[in-house]
């Protein structure tokens, strides 16, 4: 797995005692300065597991080149464990905790803790201690504990709890988290400009990925069978977060190579261990090592349509991928394809799509080498652009995700037709309004109107039909949000504050292929047969829409002229029921 241990040149998230997160690239031989929490050498954490908490040792404590101490889980949980031991019947497996006396009454704790005079050290003294050689938090705690007048066995851990809570901010500790999409989102949300990723929370990232049905494909099956495998379209104004989250779900975001390289070489020749990993991210020359050319993957691929000449995917650099200077060993090198709206919609107007003049082989043979290589480079670029543009225009994609400031209506107008039947369309928006409009444009009422419109009015795009409403089924809008809780013995409650801002909404629809010719819906008529329907055994309510049943009753057929496209079943039983009409779409 990509995150077995911390690899050189990986970007990592460093969580500080303040709970703030910093993102750093772990360059070997480097030093990372955490400000008031101290600094450490990168070589002290490379090759170590993720999710550990390290404490920076004082110079006096450091020995054998060991500058960091791994803080055990028990130590990290000391506060809560003591409280648990105090309040819960269940015995803790840790004897040291048991010994502290589960009998200690909360009352004695109150006395011990809340009387500030018990604490002999003044803040000034604490400051002085910090300057001291014993500047690490541990030393500090020890000092305070020693000087505590009422310190006894019974309250030893309670005291630890007290000091830990009070002086956590002095601890020179940090925790290294793997930088993956969930962590990147947390970081952007808490510590960065959240608007750069359109205020997209992890809830929305997760929802979008599932509803869009983004998943990996079997490398063998996708080659052999004529199956469509994991070809997705995307429009991404989140600086690459959407692309990254798709790639993560497809198994093409995290470079296994950083580590694989080492593992493989280890078997043949261990001497290269330290050298090998660096080769991957640093050097820029491509073709030499890699037969596959850029953007060449057809399946398990992401096709990005972008507004400017070049896509903005700056966040991908945290996954060691720079789209402007891509590393050939990165899976995205072959599996991320991009093209501009101009290339997609009007390739003739795009220069790179025009075939460069062909130079005769004899002439080329005599040409200067730099002219020759320039010629080949040009041809290769043209071939790449042409392949990507032609294959994209041919359509048959397996899904579309849009998170864009550009009007989603105009995006869907062009991209929905490129999807294979049965694939999912998902649009994220920080605010609900654009999605409300989208849902309205694919509403049952509008679809019915479109189907019944005379041929000359059935134009897309037109004022009433900016998109073809028959191409998406079951358009819906939703939002999801987690509420965080504090869980402590006797003090469990939702967190008091959270982050406001954009709620984040997700539009979902399914691309369908309307039957040609006349199709009549069958359904249940409204009003007239309402009472009868309640006893109709055929009307067993489904788990989710039981309330709809009262509307969908009886049978009805809506007539359409022979040349029209079909309405959906939802058209039925809705004629005068506007509430139902929209609720259905």
């Amino acid at each position: 797995m990509a995150f077995a241990t911390i690899q050189p040149f990986q970007y990592v998230a460093i969580r500080l005692p303040s709970e703030n997160i910093r993102v750093e690239q772990i360059v070997p031989n480097g030093q990372i300065n955490l400000g008031k929490y101290g600094s450490f050498h990168t070589n002290q954490i490379i090759g170590r597991p993720y999710n550990l908490t390290f404490e920076i040792l004082d110079r006096s404590e450091a020995q054998d080149g060991k500058e960091l101490r791994i803080v055990s889980a028990a130590e990290l949980h000391a506060v809560a464990l003591v409280e648990q031991a105090e309040t819960e019947d269940a015995p803790t497996p840790r004897t040291d905790l048991d010994d502290t006396g589960a009998q200690s009454t909360p009352k004695s704790n109150v006395n011990t803790h809340d009387d500030p005079t018990n604490q002999k050290l003044t803040m000034a003294e604490i400051e002085a201690l910090k300057q001291d050689d014993l500047g690490s938090g541990k030393g500090l705690i020890e000092k305070i504990m020693q000087s505590h007048s009422t310190l006894d066995q019974k309250t030893a851990f309670s005291l630890a709890k007290y000091t830990l809570r009070k002086h956590k901010k002095y601890l020179k500790r940090f925790c290294i988290l793997p930088l993956d999409v969930p962590t990147l989102v947390d970081w952007m949300m808490a510590d960065r400009e959240f608007s750069k990723i359109m205020e997209m929370r992890n809830e929305a990232v997760a929802l979008v990925g599932c509803w869009a049905n983004i998943h990996a494909s079997d490398p063998v099956i996708s080659l052999s069978e004529a199956s469509q495998s994991s070809r997705y379209l995307v429009v991404d104004d989140t600086g690459g977060l959407i692309v990254a989250s798709m790639a993560e779900r497809m198994g093409i975001l995290h470079q296994q190579h950083l580590e694989d390289g080492i593992a493989k070489i280890e078997e043949e020749d261990p001497d290269e261990q330290a050298e090998q990993p660096e080769v991957v991210p640093l050097h820029k020359d491509k073709r030499q090592q890699h037969r596959q050319s850029a953007m060449s993957a057809a399946s398990n691929s992401i096709t990005l349509v972008h507004t400017n000449q070049q896509p903005n995917l700056s966040l991908l650099r945290y996954f060691n991928f720079d789209p402007n200077n891509p590393t050939p060993s990165h899976p995205l090198y072959t599996n991320l394809r991009s093209l501009s709206w101009l290339q997609l919609l009007e390739p003739e107007s795009d220069l790179t799509y025009q075939e460069p003049e062909v130079i005769a082989p004899e002439e080329l043979a005599n040409a200067k080498s730099n002219r020759r290589s320039a010629y080949y480079r040009k041809r290769r670029r043209w071939e790449r652009v042409k392949t990507v543009v032609d294959e994209t225009r041919a359509g048959d994609f397996n899904g579309l995700i849009v998170a864009s400031y550009t009007d989603p209506v105009s995006i869907l107008q062009h991209l929905v037709p490129l999807l294979a039947g049965g694939s999912q369309v998902v649009v994220y928006s920080p605010s609900v309004e654009p999605l409300v409009r989208l849902a309205d444009l694919y509403s049952t009422a509008r679809r019915t109107a479109f189907i019944n419109a005379p041929a000359e009015e059935k134009r897309v795009p037109s004022e009433d039909f900016p998109v073809d409403p028959t191409l998406l089924l079951g358009a819906s809008v939703q939002t999801a949000r987690v509420r965080q809780w504090q869980v402590l013995p006797g003090r469990t409650h939702p967190l008091m504050t959270g982050r406001g801002g954009a709620e984040g909404y997700v539009f979902v629809g399914t691309r369908v292929l309307p039957a040609q010719g006349k199709v009549e819906a069958r359904g249940r008529a409204t009003r007239t047969k309402k009472t009868k329907a309640l006893t109709d055994p055929d009307d067993e309510p489904s788990q989710l829409s039981f309330k709809k049943q009262k509307i969908a009753t009886g049978e009805a057929v809506s007539a359409h002229t022979a040349s029209t496209l079909p309405p959906s079943n939802e058209d039925l039983g809705v004629e005068p029921m506007i509430v139902e009409q929209n609720g259905e779409s």
Binding site: Q273, R481, P566
Partner: protein
């Protein structure tokens, strides 16, 4: 066998699971088949037929259709069927109705297809029951490929299930990704199982050449539920991805019998993601440790951190779980609650012009309209006084006509005001989600090895491209002088360590040392100090 959840062709094939979309939130999962295997399907001339409230659908009309196609209902011949009286009567009634409404339809239309994919015709020809199917006058479904999402809303419920807003977030947070090895308990109705299978999927078998084949290990102690889930996995082509196990996990933990031959041998699933949807997750936590006192192998992946989520409706359950996780060294313990809202989008029609239309608010659209109406009423009141009794009756008749008139009209799809609000059925609580992480074990020896390898100063490969062969050669040359054996491995960097020892303890990054007199070009990485990006 491949799964239509994960790898599907352009068209629906026999044995594929398809999701027949009836209407919103209502879809019917069907395995497409030409062979009548169950008594339910006997007696149709058309072969296997799925009946819905929107008509009957012989599978022969769906096999070979492009995914996403709208499929017309067919008139099916139920004559020879000996079904229960009630059902029969109902079917007949329906049939009569259908016939009454029938309009002339050409037979050939039954074969019309919307898609143009090459090969469809073949598929149809091969798969179709050899009876020409007649299109019914009305009714249709859309044939959609199965997804965990549409399966979740249509699956046969055996227990409470986990829905999309929860499972999407859970899978995201427990880092279930292609290649992950995920433990799930209990299987329940298999809702989460399908989503988990999609998340970890990267190959159907190890022969695909992927490094770590993603797998789900799904445990269930209820025999019937276990049997059903196991059968479903086979039917859905997911059985190579999902391993099901009949087990009381509180008592017997999470080791698996992967080898069907050798039932006595239990192996470790080597899980790195865990989801516990059980009444007492804390009973299972002691089985999820790095080491076991009785010497049993750990069920966890020794090479990576393990991400866990438990799902409990009651706060007391969540608290107990959290306590036990703390006692068992789990870190990053967090609890959240998922709140989802579905938004209803509708048009709201307000105006006196909509008077009498269903679904509209017969209030003045604005003050002006109110004024117009009020003036009108005033005028009529004046008229009333001026008129005779007979005239009054006439007026009454007129008014009635007026009221009925709008009923004929339809609320315009593009009129009114576009509004949105939360849908009426709101799930306000599903469960408490407890998350935790268990880092991989790290012994003193591991640390010593790492420290030896990542000594004070390591050399960094040049940015000039080199062939692997070239690099290997250089590395060999370099280490020949000072081979060091560490944990049975030759580690070339040890040589570096010795040369750098002089700098140890200074706490500074060693500058490019002259001592590194190797002939090859070297790129020294700068200490990134403020490389904060």
């Amino acid at each position: 066998m491949v799964s239509s959840f994960l790898s599907r062709g352009c068209v629906a094939k026999e044995h594929d699971l398809a999701s027949l979309h009836l209407r919103r939130d209502q879809s019917l999962p069907v395995v497409l088949s030409t062979e009548v295997t169950s008594a339910d399907h006997e007696g149709y001339a058309e072969g296997v037929v799925t009946n819905t409230r929107f008509g009957s659908f012989p599978h022969s009309t769906m096999i070979g259709a492009a995914w996403g196609s709208q499929i017309r209902a067919s008139k099916v011949d139920t004559g020879s069927r000996g079904r229960k009286e009630a059902m029969n009567a109902k079917a007949k009634a329906k049939k009569r109705k259908a016939e009454a409404l029938e309009q002339s339809q050409s037979r050939s239309q039954s074969r019309s297809r919307t898609d143009t994919h090459a090969g469809d015709e073949d598929a149809v020809a091969a798969a179709a029951a050899e009876v020409e199917v007649e299109v019914a006058s009305s009714g249709f479904v859309h044939i959609l490929p199965p997804t965990p999402e549409n399966w979740t809303i249509s699956l046969p419920h055996r227990t409470q299930v986990v829905y999309t807003p929860d499972y999407s977030y859970i899978l995201h947070r427990i880092r279930a990704r292609p290649g992950s090895r995920l433990i799930e308990a209990g299987s329940g109705s298999g809702s989460f199982t399908h989503a988990a299978a999609r998340a970890v999927f990267n190959a159907y078998s190890a022969t695909s050449g992927v490094e770590s084949v993603g797998k789900v290990f799904s445990f269930e102690f209820h025999a019937e539920r276990h049997r059903r889930v196991k059968a479903e996995m086979v039917e859905h082509g997911l059985d190579t991805i999902v391993h099901t196990e009949h087990r009381d996990v509180y008592r017997d933990g999470f080791l698996v019998h992967e080898d069907e031959e050798n039932r006595d041998r239990k192996t470790s699933p080597q899980a790195n993601a865990i989801f516990l949807d059980l009444p007492a997750p804390w009973e299972a936590v002691p089985h999820l440790t790095r080491e076991h006192q009785d010497g049993k192998p750990s069920a966890l992946d020794p090479n990576s951190a393990v991400h866990l989520c438990t799902f409990s409706p009651c706060i007391e359950q969540a608290q107990k779980t959290v306590s036990s996780l703390r006692r068992h060294d789990w870190l990053e313990i967090e609890m959240v609650e998922m709140q989802q809202k579905r938004i209803e989008v509708r048009r709201e029609y307000t105006g006196l012009s909509y008077d009498g239309m269903r679904g509209a608010n017969a209030y003045a659209a604005d003050v002006d309209e109110a004024l117009v109406r009020l003036r009108e009423v005033e005028r009529r009141a004046r008229d009333f006084h001026a008129r005779t009794l007979s005239k009054r009756q006439q007026a009454n008749g007129q008014r009635q006509q007026q009221q009925q008139q709008p009923d004929v009209g339809k609320l315009p799809f593009n009129g009114g005001k576009l509004v949105h609000r939360t849908e009426p059925e709101l799930k306000t609580h599903t469960s408490y989600l407890v998350f935790a992480i268990l880092p991989r074990a790290w012994t003193e020896e591991d640390e010593a090895t790492a420290r030896a390898k990542w000594s004070k100063h390591v050399k960094i490969a040049p940015s000039v491209p080199k062939s692997q062969r070239q690099m290997k050669k250089e590395a060999k040359l370099k280490s020949r002088g000072q081979p060091q054996v560490l944990n049975g491995r030759v580690d070339g960097e040890m040589g570096e360590t010795t040369t750098e020892k002089t700098n140890a303890g200074t706490g500074e990054s060693t500058p490019r040392a002259e001592a590194e007199a190797e002939a090859e070009p070297e790129a020294e990485a700068e200490a990134p100090g403020g490389l904060h990006v």
